[in-house]
Symmetry: C2
Subunit: 237 residues, 2 copies
């Protein structure tokens, strides 16, 4: 196990100290080089009940509830638990943004340590309407972590991946200049029956112009066709 | 305007002729080289109503209803319309899989032609329960197109991006060895109140083992951390 890119870590350290000491607590862990194999965790085995399925005996992946891809190198989900670790491991995560004030569970902390994943905790209370008060400054600090590619691949999660995660992703979409209808469409897809007017108002009023100098377009749109022709991706039938 | 990679096109042509003449109709269009700028289409301008927003006058992106990223180079959505073309253009699409039997609208066809996007049409009827009958062979042929990286970036869509698109994506997840709970979680997120038991049964019974020889794991998980450190992606605050 080695520490990679010391100057990068030093820079990150300074930024964190300057900007977000109170609203974000960061857990430092050893960084494992990408080329090194991940330490083996107990794999989440799952035998499909379907008799037609010939994959019996093979490992199935169990993504966390409400898991989805936000953009290249950015994922979202509900709270990951032991059965999800094997899937998360396959994402080669570099960081996790955790949006709840409660301490991170011991098992999850062990997973982070074993896999060299840095935890950024922004403790946003999970209040219910009409007492929802999303702290704008905290979302702003979290957004800085999200758009810093040095933290990617990155997973954003709260408890159920609906409200706090939904607001943060919605603000990212504003940076990416998505129209509000599409921001809300995405938010509601995850929040479903629990969608909150107050969250949507927060996203609507969020002023993304302070991030304007950053080139954070929807990064999937930056890729050229040629990049998908890598032979390792998959092969023709 | 040039035709890129003739041998590749020839191969694709042969495959299509052999495998899926009846269930898939393919529209051939001129291919534009990635390095060439896209022809300019009427941009979908949208002035935000929010007075705090300093982006007034700048173009906002309008993704289609139910738009999401499925995996690297694979997107899904409801039927894209004129206001969405500007956003779709930014994805540099190479192909579209259209899952309805109705003819593709003239305006959409023009968009494809102008942007060198190949259309794969698989005409699956949009029946309602209890008369839903997803044709397995057609889904299988569509899946071959989905996992062929030479077709990426690719957009899958039907009418509302719920049922036909949901079934195809669900079968892709089975190939990627997602457990059924996660496959259904994702399907239901898009189908919402319109979720169908028959679609879920179809996905459950779909035998993905015939695709077993193909390395179609969840491709986001194949990426190493180092690949996210590209300086063009975004910059630290």
């Amino acid at each position: 196990m080695k520490f990679d890119n010391k100057s990068h870590d030093k820079e990150l350290q300074q930024e964190r100290e300057q900007a977000s000491e109170k609203m974000c607590s960061t857990i430092e862990v050893a960084i494992i080089e990408p080329s090194q194999p991940h330490p083996v965790l107990p794999a989440a085995k799952h035998s499909p009940a379907n008799a037609n399925d010939e994959e019996v005996g093979e490992e199935l992946f169990i993504p966390p509830l409400n898991f989805a891809i936000v953009d290249n190198g950015i994922f979202r989900s509900g709270f990951p638990d032991l059965p999800n670790f094997s899937f998360l491991q396959s994402l080669s995560l570099r960081s996790i943004i955790y949006l709840c004030p409660e301490p991170y569970p011991e098992a999850n902390m062990e997973f982070l340590k074993a896999n060299g994943i840095r935890l950024y905790q922004f403790g946003i209370e999970g209040a219910k309407e009409p007492f929802v008060n999303i702290p704008e400054d905290t979302i702003r600090e979290a957004l800085k972590v999200v758009i810093d590619a040095r933290n990617h691949p990155l997973l954003i999660h709260c408890k159920r991946g609906k409200h706090r995660t939904g607001c943060l992703v919605g603000c990212l979409r504003k940076l990416q200049r998505w129209c509000l209808t599409s921001v809300f469409d995405e938010y509601q897809r995850f929040a479903a029956a629990k969608a909150r007017i107050s969250d949507q108002r927060f996203m609507e009023l969020f002023d993304a112009s302070t991030f304007k100098h950053l080139p954070m377009s929807f990064s999937c749109s930056k890729r050229t066709r040629a990049r998908y022709l890598h032979p390792d991706f998959c092969h023709p039938i």
